[in-house]
């Protein structure tokens, strides 16, 4: 990264033997820690490879392969591509209007359009099912008005389908694309447009040949983010009974009880993720040629005509209404209608345990981010930067896959531990690792370390290295430099890292469903259980809590982006 710039800096790059014992310990710690963080991915690969070579017969996988595997993969791909397609339709026009037009309420709209990211797709899925089902108010009204009797009398859109899942996921995920595109459109040099105009191109032609192609990197990055999230989704597809790879992994473990089958399916999923990442990386490489230095001056934004203004607000409010306002409104109604069930439940107990887990995981992730980044800052070595990237790897692993990847090593560790204890005539401890909150916390840390790393790393890069050198020249030890110089400046970033990881942990569903101990619920598994039992009405308050908590980082994100908008 910045290695070249500091090559001649004698203080930050001294010979290794001068680091001392404490530093050797630090390096050992980060190495072991990194190995633990990539353990799930390694275990999956290890298990699948060894079982292939040992010729172990895996009946359940063969059965799935012979019957439904292709169908699952096809569904996964359909959900992924469909969600991206719908998200494009939602995000491209709204982003275009918010960045290229000047109208009253534009900035507010820009914030509001990001908020649906806080909406769990399965919650909207549940509410739209209620609304659009055969027994729902809309179909009832239609039947009354047109005097239809049976479902065969008319056609109506079935929400509980692949296309329904795509729409629900797109409604929750389009803000990723919206954010990236508004940023890219706003940064686009107005001279590009003027140049095309001077060469005789019409507005339409400029949009399709210059303005849209120029945001291609943002477009690809946004689409791959959405593709990954849609691929990893468990809640919505399970709720809609759409069988995909994620539901197959879940069933393989919880129904068939075959860890190996789950591992094989997980590995397939990882390959798909890698494919998406590869495409994304290609486009990131191009980005350096695409980014423009100049920022838009306000006068460059066009004033929309009244007709355009109607279209803009009409479309934007439709998107916002269906993605956020309507589901949230429904949840409020549920809470009021079922006040007793909502408040007298075990909600508070689950909320507390959720917060407890999230605090632990967020603390661990923040510490990892600090320690790993500090090592990278001191040594500037290739190895430490590799450790840093490896520790962020978990973020791309879908929650279901991660859970299976953790069950493999933790299960064997439990087995070994118990055998060992028996040998020494000690009481057995049971599934102390794989069957306790330990597994859950580890899953959260592995999955969300990347968020903490990113936040802390960018803050570290803001601190000039010469500050460290100056302190060292004044006699401070490395630890003192960290404590007195770096840490005070890193505090806001560490707080942000903690908060972001905390919120992600509260929201996390698929890994929590697979790893939670018996009789233990987190806030999101609690809400999801009710949704899949068709009783979300009774857990609506929980759902609202999740949404409220999720909105925090979005507002934070908006504050950071203010310079751009």
């Amino acid at each position: 990264m910045n290695n070249k710039r500091y090559r001649f800096n004698f203080l930050t790059r001294s010979p290794h033997n001068t680091y001392g014992r404490a530093f050797a310990f630090l390096k050992g710690l980060t190495t072991v820690g990194t190995l633990l963080l990539i353990l799930p991915a390694l275990s999956l690969i290890y298990l699948v490879i060894t079982s292939t070579f040992s010729g172990e017969v895996d009946d359940s996988f063969n059965e799935i392969k012979a019957t439904v595997l292709n169908h699952y993969i096809l569904n996964s791909l359909l959900v992924m591509l469909g969600s991206v397609a719908v998200a494009l339709v939602l995000a491209v026009p709204t982003a275009w209007w918010c960045s290229r037009y000047q109208f009253k309420g534009r900035k507010l709209l820009q914030v509001l359009l990001i908020l649906p990211l806080a909406m769990p797709a399965y919650v909207s899925g549940y509410i739209y099912t209620e609304l659009l089902d055969f027994a729902g108010p809309i179909q009832r009204w239609l039947r009354l008005t047109f005097e239809w009797q049976r479902p065969s009398d008319y056609w109506f859109f079935d929400v509980r389908s692949v296309s329904g899942a795509c729409i629900m996921l797109a409604l929750a995920l389009y803000p990723y694309l919206f954010l990236l595109l508004t940023n890219a459109f706003s940064k686009q040099s107005p001279q590009m447009t003027a140049a095309a105009q001077m060469l005789g191109a019409s507005r339409r032609r400029i949009f399709w040949t210059v303005q849209l192609p120029l945001v291609r990197p943002a477009l690809v990055i946004g689409c791959s983010l959405i593709a990954m999230e849609a691929l990893a989704d468990f809640g919505t597809v399970q709720l809609f009974a759409v069988s995909t790879l994620t539901t197959a992994i879940y069933d393989a473990w919880l129904v068939y009880g075959s860890l190996l089958t789950a591992a094989k399916l997980s590995l397939m999923m990882l390959l798909l993720v890698l494919g998406i990442l590869w495409i994304e990386k290609l486009s990131r490489r191009q980005q350096q040629y695409f980014t423009e230095k100049s920022a838009t001056d306000v006068s460059d934004r066009a004033e929309p005509t009244t007709k355009q203004l109607c279209i803009i607000w009409g479309y934007a409010l439709t998107v916002l209404g269906s993605a956020l306002l309507l589901p949230v409104g429904y949840l409020f109604l549920f809470v009021l209608d079922y006040w007793h069930q909502n408040t007298q439940s075990q909600l508070w107990q689950h909320l507390l345990s959720s917060i407890g887990l999230a605090v632990i995981a967020a603390s661990v992730a923040s510490i990892i981010a600090l320690v790993w980044n500090q090592e990278q800052r001191i040594t500037l070595s290739k190895l430490s930067s590799i450790k840093l990237s490896l520790s962020s790897l978990g973020y791309v692993i879908p929650g279901t896959v991660l859970a299976i990847g953790l069950l493999i090593p933790l299960g064997s560790a439990d087995l070994m531990l118990n055998r060992l204890l028996i040998q020494f005539d000690l009481p057995r401890v049971g599934l102390i690792l794989s069957g306790s909150v330990f597994a859950l916390i580890m899953a959260y840390v592995v999955r969300f370390s990347a968020i903490a790393n990113g936040s802390v790393q960018s803050a570290y890069e803001q601190i000039p290295r010469h500050q460290d050198d100056a302190a060292r020249m004044l006699g401070a030890s490395r630890f003192k430099v960290f404590k007195d110089i770096n840490l005070p400046q890193l505090r806001p970033a560490v707080f942000t890292a903690f908060l972001l990881v905390f919120i992600e942990c509260i929201k996390e569903l698929p890994a929590s469903l697979l790893l939670r101990p018996f009789d233990f619920e987190t806030l999101s598994t609690y809400v999801y259980q009710y949704a899949s039992d068709e009783q979300l009405e009774h857990a609506a308050l929980g759902a609202l809590l999740i949404i409220a908590v999720s909105m925090l980082p979005l507002l934070l994100l908006h504050r950071q982006n203010k310079g751009v908008s």
């Binding site: 040099s189 001279q191 590009m192 003027a194 140049a195 060469l199 005789g200 019409s202 040629y289």
Partner: protein, 340 residues
């Protein structure tokens, strides 16, 4: 109304424009003959680029008319930029990064057939001496090459007028002279009528056939480079162009007691016509600063006088400052009376 049959490539009349309540252009008049290069020269913030944008159609003037090649494009009727047939080269070139050089050049040729388009692209590549570069992408080219692509792209649709916004500001001094020579020969070959904007006098003198000095939203003087330097239209122009010493008749008397200046007003005394002699009875000198430019010394003499503090002149050799206490000035030409 300008006459469409004239040999004017461009005629701007009575152009006014206010942006957010602030008048930027005030009844500006400008004409460009076919095949000529005109420089809009002025300090930053005088509205030069605004004039270009009005001509291009990227801004709409409040009043006034613009006629391109005999066709009214702004005034009673307003023609959108894409139909004006005007070429524009932007300060940062604004090449489309996702298109090859050939695609960039061909962007304005969508009306041509495929083969005509390929032929024209090739022709333009050759014109700017970039044959064989058609498949490259802009980021694979040097700054000078990028500018030539921008030029080829702007010239490809055979525009009536070419507009350039600070075309040389991104190029380092060494390359600049070479680029100007190249551009000039390309313009001659293609008979381009061009207006370019700059704040650097050197660029204007080296490149323009005619210069329009722009001060505070208006053309302060329009003419050939020599004319501007020797016969500035106003004190403001003389000062901006650094023509020389602008003195009142009284101030001139201090330096040249024997000179008979009958008219009151400001007189231009050019540095290269001033001579000095070191004597015992002349004007008392306080300080002398000398800057060598590689050929001669620019001398700035501070004198001890209530009416006049400083005199600028040119010297072929370094003056030995310590020895000089009093100077006698001579002017070897007739001073020019600046008419206000």
């Amino acid at each position: 109304m300008p006459n469409p049959q004239s040999d004017l490539a461009l005629a701007v009349d009575n152009l006014s424009l206010s942006l957010s309540g602030k008048p930027i252009l005030k009844q500006l008049v400008l004409e460009l003959s076919r095949g000529e290069s005109l420089c809009l020269l002025g300090p930053s913030g005088c509205g030069k680029t605004t004039v270009l944008k009005c001509i291009a159609g990227l801004l709409t003037p409040d009043t006034g008319s613009i006629v391109v090649n005999g066709r009214l494009v702004a005034g009673k009727q307003s023609i959108p930029p894409q139909q004006r047939n005007i070429g524009f080269i932007f300060q940062d070139y604004a090449l489309f990064p996702h298109m090859t050089v050939a695609e960039n050049i061909g962007y304005g040729l969508s009306k041509l057939s495929k083969s005509d388009k390929a032929y024209r692209i090739n022709e333009c590549l050759q014109l700017v001496d970039l044959a064989g570069f058609g498949d490259r992408y802009p980021h694979q080219l040097s700054g000078g090459q990028q500018q030539r692509v921008a030029l080829a792209r702007a010239l490809a649709p055979k525009p009536s007028v070419l507009l350039m916004d600070e075309p040389f500001s991104n190029i380092d001094a060494q390359l600049k002279r070479q680029m100007m020579a190249e551009l000039k020969s390309i313009f001659k070959k293609a008979n381009v009528s061009c207006i370019f904007v700059t704040h650097a006098k050197g660029e204007a003198f080296a490149f323009a056939d005619k210069i329009a000095v722009m001060l505070e939203g208006n053309i302060a003087q329009f003419g050939r480079p020599m004319q501007l330097i020797n016969q500035p239209a106003s004190v403001a122009v003389a000062e901006f162009m650094e023509c020389g010493n602008v003195l009142t008749a009284e101030q001139a008397k201090v330096l040249f007691p024997r000179l008979e200046l009958t008219q009151t007003g400001s007189w231009l005394f050019k540095p290269e016509w001033i001579d000095i002699d070191s004597t015992e009875y002349g004007v008392r000198v306080k300080n002398i600063e000398q800057i060598f430019n590689g050929r001669e010394y620019f001398v700035d003499i501070t004198i001890d006088n209530d009416q006049l503090q400083s005199v600028k002149m040119v010297s072929q050799h370094l003056l030995t400052v310590g020895a000089i206490e009093k100077l006698v000035f001579r002017y070897n030409n007739t001073p020019y009376l600046i008419k206000e």
